[in-house]
């Protein structure tokens, strides 16, 4: 029976909330984890900062422009990772039989897998990314349209990362222990987006646009926010196409997920 998606979101929230409550049983370790996570990811940005103390600009982009790229991608990644990061663990769930147990519960498997062991330890990264993004935004010449594009950029960025996480985790339905391979695309994709993408050859940019569409997470919409021409000469329409990229990635991932589950139930392994 088809149920309203809002029901699934609610169930997701209830499962997640339970895990947050459980984590609060040990408040110190929770805070330490979150702060530690923030510090470690913060070093990423410190790296950029140090680089800019030697350079005036990177491929024509100033520090605050790169910070905008970094902050927006990092926000989307941290949010996606928090919301559905545990989907990476399906290999383990398959091996331990946990997946079988989830399949006997009346909640869609994807909702259960994503919400299981929900943790806010990425809160550190989220905060750090938020601060960088806020600082960089003060250099943006805001117009109502740019605000709209910025909001849609963050939402679409989450969707792109949702899709990448889910889609690449599905490899584990066919071969377990493919986490590292999947990470190369998800976290690898995220690392790449910390830099202006025109530092890469055009072929790489094409790949990051059409294959692993992380360029839509921040690169194209940020060009619009900064009012810059695309240095790689990609169509201007791309700068507004992030929501489309997000939806397409998400839809593709759901299809892969469904065929992964079907493979699992038809092979039992």
């Amino acid at each position: 029976m088809a149920e309203h998606p809002a029901t699934h979101v609610r169930t997701y929230g209830q499962i997640a909330w339970l895990w947050i409550r459980a984590a609060w049983q040990y408040p110190t370790s929770f805070v330490l984890l979150a702060v530690g996570n923030g510090l470690i990811t913060g070093l990423d940005f410190v790296g950029l900062w140090i680089m800019f103390s030697h350079l005036r600009e990177l491929a024509g982009f100033s520090l605050h422009e790169v910070a905008l790229l970094y902050g927006s991608a990092s926000l989307a990644l941290a949010f996606a990772d928090t919301a559905i990061g545990s989907v990476e663990r399906i290999g383990t769930y398959i091996r331990t039989g946990r997946l079988d147990q989830m399949m006997t519960k009346p909640v869609p498997l994807l909702v259960q897998v994503c919400a299981d062991q929900f943790t806010l330890r990425r809160l550190g990264r989220l905060t750090q990314a938020g601060v960088v993004f806020a600082w960089a935004s003060t250099y943006v010449d805001w117009t109502p349209l740019r605000v709209l594009v910025a909001v849609s950029m963050l939402v679409s960025g989450c969707l792109v990362f949702f899709g990448l996480f889910v889609g690449f985790s599905c490899i584990q339905f066919w071969t377990t222990d493919a986490t590292e391979f999947a990470n190369a695309f998800t976290y690898g994709g995220a690392t790449v987006t910390q830099y202006p993408l025109n530092i890469f050859p055009r072929e790489v940019l094409v790949g990051l646009t059409f294959v692993v569409p992380v360029a839509f997470v921040n690169w194209y919409p940020c060009l619009f926010l900064l009012g810059r021409d695309d240095p790689s000469g990609m169509p201007d329409a791309f700068q507004l196409a992030s929501p489309l990229a997000g939806l397409v990635t998400m839809a593709a991932a759901l299809l892969v997920w469904r065929s992964g589950v079907r493979h699992y139930t038809s092979t039992g392994s």
Partner: protein
Amino acid sequence: MPTDPSLIDVRDLERTFDVRRRVEGRRRRAREQVRAVHDLSFSVEAGEMVGYIGPNGAGKSTTIKMLTGILVPTGGQVRVAGLDPSRDRVELARRIGVVFGQRSTLWWDLPLRDSFDLLQKMYRIPSARYRENLERFVELLDLGRQLDTPVRQLSLGQRMRGDITAALLHDPEVLYLDEPTIGLDVVSKGRLREFLRALNAERGTTLLLTTHDLQDIEALCDRVIVIDHGTSVYDGSLAGLHAQGGSTRTLVVDLVDEAPPVDVPGVTVRRVEGPRQWLSFPADASAAPIVAAVASTYDVADLSIQEPDIEDVIRELYSREG
């Protein structure tokens, strides 16, 4: 659509697996088809308590997986409560309870109570019903003091009781139990069996139980389905299984002194080792007259009874058929 009143209906069920095996001298691994389950048919009516038994690797888990929708059959058909398990898996989940004996469904790091609360949300059990059920199961299964303990700190018996409670909170029509008493001590086993019997009597919950413990079956099931090599080799009463399998119980007698093999009607002496003797008698016969006869003729230091082993019964059943 033909109406079928059976709660569980399995017809000509088949499940094959592709297994890849390394072959000496060949680069590619050879593909081989293994039939885990084949030509399996049975039906279970609402309110029945059925023992589903068989040796390891006989196809028990594969059957349970197909009944719960975790695995799609490669042939034949399954209906549970009128639903096709693999197609209507999520809908069926509301109406069944599953307990995998070896693996807990509970959340390891959470207190038992949190796991139950979470299940209430997942199954959307009305609050009043949930409180009533929880209270009742906690009382019957004596879990009151464990409710706030994280699952990882529970003993095996406590965890099993927690798992059973978890599987019953939403009032399932069918409860699948996979080795529910494995590893439990005698007292816990007894209480668990008592609880399951009461559950069946009061709520009419249908039970399908896989087990290695014949006493589970004896205490709970009026009917046994024996599966071996992927298909059903027996379906009927436990007494019938004993009769057909020619199974025996063994009375182990420790005499005060060494003696020649005891001579009591209805028993066969299997083994003598010093003052200890092993006497076997048909599993459906009562042990009382035999014990009385032995005790009246000999000086007995100690007595114990060994129940027939399920594997032996099945082996016997099979060798007779073959």
